[in-house]
Symmetry: C2
Subunit: 225 residues, 2 copies
DNA sequence: CTAGGAAATATCCTATAGGATCTGAATATC
DNA sequence: GATATTCAGATCCTATAGGATATTTCCTAG
């Protein structure tokens, strides 16, 4: 037997890391709903840890923008976006994801481009068991996020990828409040983006991404009454 | 006497907030240099606080990207950017600050536009006491950052402003390692940006900002050998 | 019934203590 | 001399305790 590859490090995380991930998930799943006060002591009891790692996790989440701190009064989940904030976020998406599409068209390798095309196609048939309504919507939302995340990664700039991820975390929290997606229309929009990226056409990729985002914005605006 | 306006809240921050700001300043001033290990206990002793608010401040700074954590081994100041990272950061600046210039041209009010013009002019005479060399460089760097920050604010999108601020924090850490600025050239570039913004010419504002950033990139590349 | 104040309780924040793990120096082995 | 092992001390992480502050509840006066 040749020399074995080194064993993977068994553990390089702490309780604080676990708590951070747990709280993030609680927020994403709306167990901690937007605007909710976060009771540190109660949460620590539920998680069966002391308040110390909970506080540290919340400090990180504050800088992530997912929670807000009021000194001496504790933390709360960041509220749902106002209509104005929603518009600002889409403006920012236009800037960042437009650039991501452009750079992906310029830089992505063949394998990645094929994967982007596959993801654009997969979105049409998201529900594996003929599910309908909310489960279909959830599956679609997940695939939509994967598609955008894939392009963000394909752009080849970690700062851009992280910036888009931050926006998507906020967007994800809002998914319960958005109207059910129009999957056919979105799929076509995704495919136009993917085809432009595959063709290496930077300008067309950006235009298609802008088109998609602007239409998504209009679709989502119904949630703001 | 009409009803008095409510008195300002006397204090709405905690020791942890103070520690966060102190550590940020230590990093910005290179008292904690890039790559340095951060000894939590020693730092807590120096600051005459317990380790608790220090750990919380570091948790926030981790999410800010200014420090990195290695579980069970503690924190270190994020290292200086590699050449590749520096290039990625400038690509990101082109995207974000290009958009900021465009939006500022479209949205800024007359007062703000005048202020932008003033700041572009002020950068020519940064040293109040005929100082030379490093103090002039420091003063220039500060005014340069103010100019960019002003435009980011004038863009009217808080997400964009925050994104640019994050980039600038990283850039600021590197200022000790960059060549002395060519103030005359930079002033001209700033003025071109400011004039385009004042004129409300979005495209020209973005082009001028791109031009400025690309030239700044070239000037700074000497620091990478 | 409403408003204001006081008291009780809960929560937040920080210091301290202690166990787990890491780091670096000293020592042993080849 | 180079490398591996051991060990002591330092450091990190988390739990606990206690004081400060905020929030909630209760009571009283108008």
């Amino acid at each position: 037997m040749a020399s074995p590859s080194p064993l993977p490090r068994l553990r390089r995380s702490t309780l604080g890391d676990d708590v951070y991930e747990t709280i993030t998930a609680l927020i994403m799943e709306h167990t901690l709903a937007p605007g909710d006060r976060i009771n540190i002591d109660a949460l620590a009891r539920q998680l069966e840890v002391s308040a110390t790692p909970v506080r540290e996790a919340l400090a990180r989440l504050e800088s992530d923008g997912l929670v807000r701190k009021r000194a001496l009064a504790g933390y709360a989940v960041s509220p749902l976006l106002t209509r104005a904030e929603f518009m600002e976020m889409f403006d920012m998406r236009l800037v960042l994801e437009g650039a991501a599409a452009r750079w992906a068209a310029a830089r992505a390798g063949t394998d990645t481009k094929q994967q982007i095309l596959r993801e654009a196609t997969d979105i049409v048939a998201p529900a594996p068991e003929g599910a309908d309504g909310w489960p279909a919507h959830a599956a679609f939302t997940k695939l939509d996020a994967q598609f955008h995340q894939l392009i963000a990664g394909a752009a080849g700039n970690p700062l851009l990828r992280d910036g888009i991820a931050r926006l998507h975390a906020h967007l994800h929290i809002h998914r319960l409040y958005f109207p059910f997606a129009q999957m056919g229309t979105t799929a076509q929009e995704h495919q136009r983006i993917a085809l432009a990226i595959e063709a290496g056409d930077e300008q067309q990729a950006e235009t298609a991404m802008h088109d998609h985002l602007n239409r998504a914005r209009e679709r989502h605006l119904a949630a703001f009454g």
